[in-house]
């Protein structure tokens, strides 16, 4: 069996196809430009041009004078925020909420996708998926309303526990409530991407693993995990890159005066100072601070993942 055929050699080097595609793209670059033009224009208009607005972070912004007419104050807003006595508390709350959310919330859709993938009946699978996706379409405010009702002293949870605790006033319960309700609402929807990736796992490979004697966990390790690993890594890098971007709506809606010790995060603080008090420059500076931290985290995490994953990362 030592003979090597020319077809073996050809099959081993699949670079020709890629080269041909690149040559074709170079020859018809106008076509490709036309194809990406709408996306490019929209991205520039809605993603890059608004970046000019970050100038507000360095100004005592006055809406009447506009960006170019307002007083330039340099890093004053940043200094004010970083030297604020509550800065560390807000930062800590934000990071804890985000990191705990990542730890508990990130694996949930992956596990859900593995479980869904095990359901053999297509009809049953579709029905379960529908039920899992539905919470995603409930607005955050309605969700928070439901949570408040369920957790009220006379609510369903207290009925089950036979207690009359007011969970919404307990600072220690805030993060659990925030993260658990987030998982309930978003895990099903987030599992779509993993379910789709899992559908690419070869059926033959699964069967080969079964014949090899792999149990469910070994099948997941040998067949299903490799099929979704790249997707999981990209999602993880992106999640880490959003660690400082905890939206203010849900935290604000679940906030009470009594749980502020844990529920006051940077974004709710920015909302209160920036929009309610009209201090746009300061709130933009805090937002920019968040973004810079996010970018640093995104780049760092991508580098770490690349080192751990044979040089494969998000970019």
């Amino acid at each position: 069996m030592s003979k090597q055929t020319s077809s073996d050699a050809k099959a081993a080097g699949g670079g020709g196809k890629v080269h041909n595609t690149l040559v074709y793209m170079r020859q018809h670059w106008q076509l490709y430009l036309l194809f990406i033009m709408p996306a490019l224009v929209l991205t520039i208009i809605f993603r890059y041009l608004p970046m000019g607005g970050i100038l507000i972070a360095f100004e005592e912004y006055n809406p009447i004078r506009g960006i170019f007419g307002s007083e330039w104050v340099g890093f004053e807003h940043f200094e004010r925020f970083l030297s604020s006595p509550d800065f560390m508390r807000y930062l800590g709350n934000t990071l804890k909420l985000s990191i705990y959310g990542l730890i508990w919330g990130f694996p949930a859709p992956i596990l859900l996708a593995f479980l869904l993938n095990r359901i053999l009946s297509t009809k049953a699978k579709q029905k379960i998926q529908l039920i899992l996706y539905m919470p995603n379409f409930i607005s955050v405010i309605v969700l928070c309303g439901i949570v408040r009702i369920l957790l009220s002293p006379t609510g369903f949870i207290n009925m089950l526990l036979g207690t009359d605790w007011n969970f919404m006033t307990m600072p220690s319960a805030f993060r659990t409530i925030y993260i658990a309700s987030g998982i309930w609402q978003g895990a099903g929807w987030a599992s779509i991407i993993y379910t789709a990736a899992l559908s690419n796992a070869s059926k033959d490979l699964k069967e080969a693993a079964v014949i090899d004697g792999a149990n469910i966990f070994q099948q997941i390790r040998a067949v299903e995990w490799p099929a979704i690993r790249d997707t999981v890594l990209i999602q993880f890098i992106m999640s880490v890159g959003n660690i400082m971007s905890v939206g203010f709506e849900k935290a604000y809606a679940l906030q009470t005066d009594l749980n502020l010790a844990t529920s006051e995060i940077i974004s709710t603080y920015v909302y209160k100072v920036g929009l309610l008090d009209g201090n746009y420059g300061f709130s933009t500076a805090v937002g920019l601070f968040n973004t810079v931290i996010n970018v640093i985290l995104l780049i760092s995490m991508n580098q770490i993942v690349k080192k751990m994953n044979d040089g494969k990362g998000m970019y």
Binding site: M1, K3, T5, D204, L205, V210
Partner: protein
């Protein structure tokens, strides 16, 4: 001993579709059996039921004398090679081959010895550290075979293992499988839709259509003694010529086949067989293999439409009235003009004419009603 017995094996899917109807076959120890048939005939379903990847709706499956219907695939002592190779892409060749042994918790030294021995046999030792993506199709298929080999299975199952390879590599790998079979000497079940693979690899061939087994027999049997029109048409390349609206005549105890007005007195064997079967005169479909036609003789005439020079032979496509006739004529036997547009006489030897009942499509000589009733159709045996 690794005998495989399929007893009235039936597969009915949830939607009511019947995948296989009462498949019966007894595969002897170390026998190489090939399941062949067109797409959707149930050959892969049968193999998958043996592997335990499909539930058996009805019937019994025995491997090595043990009932296997409810035994998990890993406990059946089988190994399977898939059409798509089914290699774990994240693992190296070595890891792929060692995977099933690691799951069985064999000592590392034993795993290493088995993997290296199989790699040596398949000549893939130099690729042990590579990942499947860095291998060609042929090399991947060898790894897939190696992965099955290291398990030392009682039964080797192969589901169209060569279908993804190009023609040249397929021929090469076919020869490799023959050699491999001689070395590992175990029971093989091999699924293919390629009749060349079936004829060259199988000790016996099981031909399926629409979930039914049509014939089980040696390659010679299914080629020379097809039990019905389907088997006759499926086995053989080019396909057998069928002449519709022919007649089996019985005159003074002598049988004749009448093809397009030309009478052929059947051979002694055919006379005896038909007489033993009590066959009356009837309308038939006459089958003549392209290789069994002689040109330049006989009363049948055909106009040559296409003449393909294949080197050692001519493949001739001709028209004889309403019939399309394909003839394979060895180049050395050509004494007649076989160029396109010319008209030739042709004939065949009567003993090579296959006689099929026009209504049932069954071969008047080789169809064996008893074996069909047992759902194990073989060609009829005669003791003369």
């Amino acid at each position: 001993m690794s005998e495989v017995i399929l007893k009235d094996i039936k597969k009915v899917y949830e939607n009511g579709y019947v995948g296989t109807h009462d498949v019966n076959i007894s595969i002897k120890d170390k026998e190489f059996i090939v399941l062949v048939g067109p797409s959707g005939c149930g050959k892969s379903t049968t193999l998958r039921m043996v592997a335990g990847l499909e539930e058996i709706t009805d019937g019994e499956l025995y491997i090595d004398g043990k009932l296997m219907n409810d035994v998990a695939p890993k406990d059946r002592d089988i190994a399977m090679v898939f059409q798509s190779y089914a290699l774990y892409p994240q693992m190296t060749v070595y890891q792929n081959m060692a995977f099933s042994l690691e799951l069985r918790k064999l000592p590392k030294s034993e795993i290493d010895a088995k993997v290296r021995e199989a790699a040596e046999i398949l000549d893939i030792t130099q690729y042990l550290d590579r990942k499947p993506a860095a291998l060609s199709g042929g090399q991947r298929q060898r790894v897939a075979i190696g992965r099955a080999m290291v398990r030392d299975p009682k039964v080797f199952l192969m589901d169209e293992p060569l279908s993804n390879l190009d023609a040249k590599l397929r021929n090469q790998m076919r020869a490799e499988i023959i050699k491999l079979r001689q070395r590992i000497n175990t029971t093989f079940m091999y699924v293919t839709h390629d009749q060349t693979e079936a004829m060259t690899l199988g000790d016996r061939i099981l031909i399926m259509k629409d979930g039914y087994v049509n014939q089980i027999g040696t390659p010679q049997d299914v080629f020379n003694k097809p039990v019905n029109l389907f088997v006759a048409g499926f086995i053989g390349m080019p396909v057998m010529n069928f002449f519709d609206d022919c007649h089996l005549l019985l005159e003074n105890g002598v049988y004749f086949a009448e093809i397009r007005g030309v009478r052929y007195k059947l051979s002694d064997f055919q006379q005896k067989a038909l007489a033993q079967n009590g066959q009356a005169a009837c309308d038939i479909v006459a089958g003549i293999r392209p290789q069994h036609i002689t040109v330049g003789e006989g009363e049948l005439k055909a106009k040559i439409e296409v003449s393909e020079m294949m080197g050692s032979e001519y493949n001739i496509h001709a028209r004889s009235n309403a019939d399309e006739v394909v003839m394979v004529i060895p180049t050395v036997d050509i004494a007649t003009d076989v160029s396109m547009g010319s008209t030739v006489n042709f004939t065949t030897r009567p003993n090579l004419i296959q006689l099929f009942d026009k209504t049932t499509g069954n071969n008047l000589i080789w169809y064996d009603a008893e074996s069909v009733a047992r759902h194990e159709p073989v060609c009829k045996e005669y003791d003369f």
